[in-house]
Amino acid sequence: MHRVKVRVVEDALDANNTIARANREDFDRDGVTVVNIMSAPGAGKTTLLERVLRDGIEELRVGVLEGDVQGSLDADRLAHLHIPVTQLNTDNGFGGECHLDANMIRSALGTLPLADLDLLIVENVGNLVCPAEFRIGEDARMMVSSVAEGDDKPLKYPLMFRACELVVLNKIDLLPYVEFDVERFRHFLDQVHPGVTVLETSARTGEGVDDLRAWFARLPDRAEAAAPA
């Protein structure tokens, strides 16, 4: 018996990325654009979705995949919208994972009516760290940061703020009541992810929600333009 060094040189997340590519191929086959929404718990992802989806996103056929460690509270909240909503619990055979990964999405593909969708919105588990590491086969990633969390978050969680192409600053109706300097937030964000698109919203009052809806509406065209010929 002797010891042998084996050269590996493999990204530890290769296995996940391979499955993510397979998901992407399946989404592309059905012409579904997929957006992955990430944030800390309580930033307002579900409330924003309720607001955006209440009036629909133009003529797009939209479905939602809700990722939570446990329970179906979020899916229940979206039930009145009469769109396909699938709840994915990460404690269901996944050991209570704090994020969605490509394999979990893969296992849920059979429950999604992909042929009847143009846009699939995936609401990730509330967590500012792990979801940033795991691609799921999405076309676009957005994150929601709320003013209640503080204006220093881009510097504290640069991985997350760099892993998305849209940052939604939510709960701006609370600005008079919290210590949050929007300029300071934007300055920190610009250091961490120069040039990233920022939208300011209040899911409660509806301010800025039309801009977010318009961003969603443009995603399928963009995905089509980016697809390999």
Binding site: R3, V8, A12, A15, H99, N127, V129, Q191
Partner: protein, 118 residues
């Protein structure tokens, strides 16, 4: 906190390449920008490695410094803080040259002596 997820991915990768052989050492390269806490990764690695061929294996790490390059002005620089604007031209189109690694570089396995073939 992502050390648990990453530790799990590291063990999976090592187990795959070990192909059934017992592993004594796993060497990883961690990019500075991935914000991995090595001691925490090591802790989770030990836990997750239980009941696999990696059980008891040592985890060895190298931190890869973050180096950026500004596309328009070609300036290259190292960063330790999350500041991604070019310090020379203030440009935003910046490429990460290194610092995003999350790589299993090598493993050390116990190998049976090859049987003598007559």
């Amino acid at each position: 906190m992502h050390e648990l997820s990453i530790g799990s991915a590291v063990v999976d990768t090592a187990v795959k390449h070990a192909a059934g052989r017992r592993v004594s050492l796993v060497s990883v390269r961690l990019g500075h920008l991935r914000q991995v806490v090595p001691d925490s990764l090591s802790f989770y690695f030990d836990l997750i490695a239980r009941d696999t061929v990696c059980e008891g294996a040592r985890l060895e790490w190298e931190i890869v410094p973050a180096r950026l390059c500004c596309e328009p002005c070609s300036h290259e620089w190292d960063v330790t803080e999350p500041a991604f604007r070019c310090p020379r031209c203030d440009g935003a189109r910046v490429v990460v040259l290194s610092g995003e690694e999350l790589e299993v570089a090598s493993i050390e396995v116990h190998q049976e002596e090859p049987a003598c073939i007559v």
